[in-house]
């Protein structure tokens, strides 16, 4: 089982991301859960969203407290939430940032494997707005292979209708542009 936790702000679409991921995994014949950190929606407030993917029925009904992967939609959350604090040994940090791996390691002291993409730039260019949730899914898929890129297309179409094409293009662009650097021992 792979456990992924999204860190975002209310309105950035973290919940949509985990739901789309779960649907993509289910379309591949896997089992998955996608769910929000339950509660009232508050635009701009730090929020969590969770995704589990496995080859068999998932029986856990709790939050993800030791994730394999954290996806950080908004880098300003690093100082507030410290997303990788409980990341598993060998876990991956997927981060929306224009910085290089060396700069990120210097600034935050992260030791884990990094997957970095300037999702704000990609989203602005491809979508025309800095909403990075679908874009960051491209980086996540590149870093983990949790689902196939094409598996996301049907749920994207279902969710976004005519806007699905742009979102899928942003996702693919992020997939191409993501820089991965293995963990430092």
């Amino acid at each position: 089982m792979i456990e992924i936790r999204f860190h975002g702000r209310g309105g950035q679409g973290a919940v949509t991301s985990v739901e789309l991921l779960a649907l993509a995994a289910i379309n591949e014949g896997k089992f998955a859960q996608g769910f929000p950190s339950f509660g009232p929606e508050r635009r701009g407030a730090p929020v969590l969203a969770f995704c589990r993917v496995d080859d068999r029925h998932i029986r856990l009904r709790c939050k993800i407290s030791k994730p394999d992967v954290v996806v950080v939609l908004d880098p300003s959350l690093i100082r507030i939430q410290n997303p990788p604090a409980d990341l598993k040994e060998g876990g991956i940090i997927v981060l929306n940032t224009p910085k290089t791996p060396a700069e990120v390691r210097r600034e935050y002291g992260f030791k884990h494997t990094l997957a970095l993409v300037d999702a704000n730039k990609v989203a602005r260019e491809v979508l025309g707005v800095p909403i990075v949730n679908t874009t960051m899914m491209g980086a996540l898929i590149r870093a983990t292979g949790v689902v196939k890129l094409e598996s996301v297309e049907p749920p994207l179409k279902e969710r976004f209708g005519p806007l699905a094409v742009k979102n899928f293009n942003a996702l693919k662009a992020a997939f191409e542009q993501t820089v991965i650097e293995e963990r430092r021992s």
Binding site: V18, E19, A22, L23, A25, I26, N27, G29, K30, F31, A32, Q33, G34, F35, P36, F38, G39, P40, H57, I58, R59, L60, R61, C62, K63, S65, P155
Partner: protein, 391 residues
Amino acid sequence: MAHRVGMEVSLAVSEAVQMARAEAIAAYPITPQTHIVEHLSSVVANGELEAEFVNVESEHSAISTCIGMSATGARTYTATSSQGLALMNEILFIASALRLPIVMTVANRALSGPLSIWNDHGDIMAARDIGWIQIFVENGQEAFDHSVMAFKIAENHEVLLPTIINLDGFILSHVVEAMEFPDQELVDKFLPPYHPRYCLDPAKPVTMGAFAMPEVYTEVKMAHQTALTNSYEHILKVWKEWGDLTGRHYQPVEKYKTEGAKTLLLTMGCLSEVAEVAVDEMREAGMDVGLLRLRMWRPFPFADLRNAVAGAKLLIVCDRALSLGGAAPPVLAEVRSALYAMRGRPQTASFVIGLGGRDVAPDAFKAIVAQAQEEAQQKPTQEYHIFGVRG
């Protein structure tokens, strides 16, 4: 052919109600149940479900409207949570006394106060004695299956009782997960149109909701009690028929790794699958621990429970609700009553867990088992523990 889908569990419940061809729905939105009736209102508005959807101004009106609609002979559905269920309270007793086969989903949520929109079983436990059939589900597939089966159970002329399907708010209702949906043909064959035994019809007038003089009130309540107790065998028949059609079988008390178990956990709802994970880990560590999952809450399956605990030394009951100032939390009270006359009954231990949305991970059950086993050797000092409580 059945097909596999990924969907939010709330929407799967709506799909089940749609496939069951509900004809009348009245509901008022309340978190975390809202997505269910929101989706139903849109499928009715889109013409995908031929039903009357009545928007009302409160849950009291929702269940009252359901009573009226069900009394005309329509297959009737509603859903609610927490304060909504509490606001329905006086009418819930009337629905069952009138023997109207309304089906209701309760997305279980804590009662105020303090105000909490999160999950526990406080809402349904406060409505324990409303005279309805009450079933608990653990995952999306079960939520779908039982939402369909509930109509067939409720509408059986030997039963004619309203039925509640309890599903945990948020931790189940708001999760996107994989499920298998049967074809419409299978559901239609399984669940033919509802033919009421009695209904409001100007051509054939009947009285419903009459008052009862002291000479008959007791007898009417006795008849209600008998109907609810006797619904047990019909529920099992419906579950078996569904199991034969779909391969998914359900029991009033379900056992998990209970062979040779000296210690048994007992859980309801979503706690059950989490507890299974803990039992797997404890079994791997060589501990003789098993799990009982209580699915049927009303009528209470006394004989099944007694059979299921035979051979165990320690039964640890996990409640997701309190009975403030009472002898025991609701499930424990029932279980202890069921076991009182049993020879060689296991010792019971009691833990209240997961109130008001408190997260419950498998480790909690391991800690509970360790504490209960240790205390079983000592003289009991308190009736029950509230697990993880501070202060």
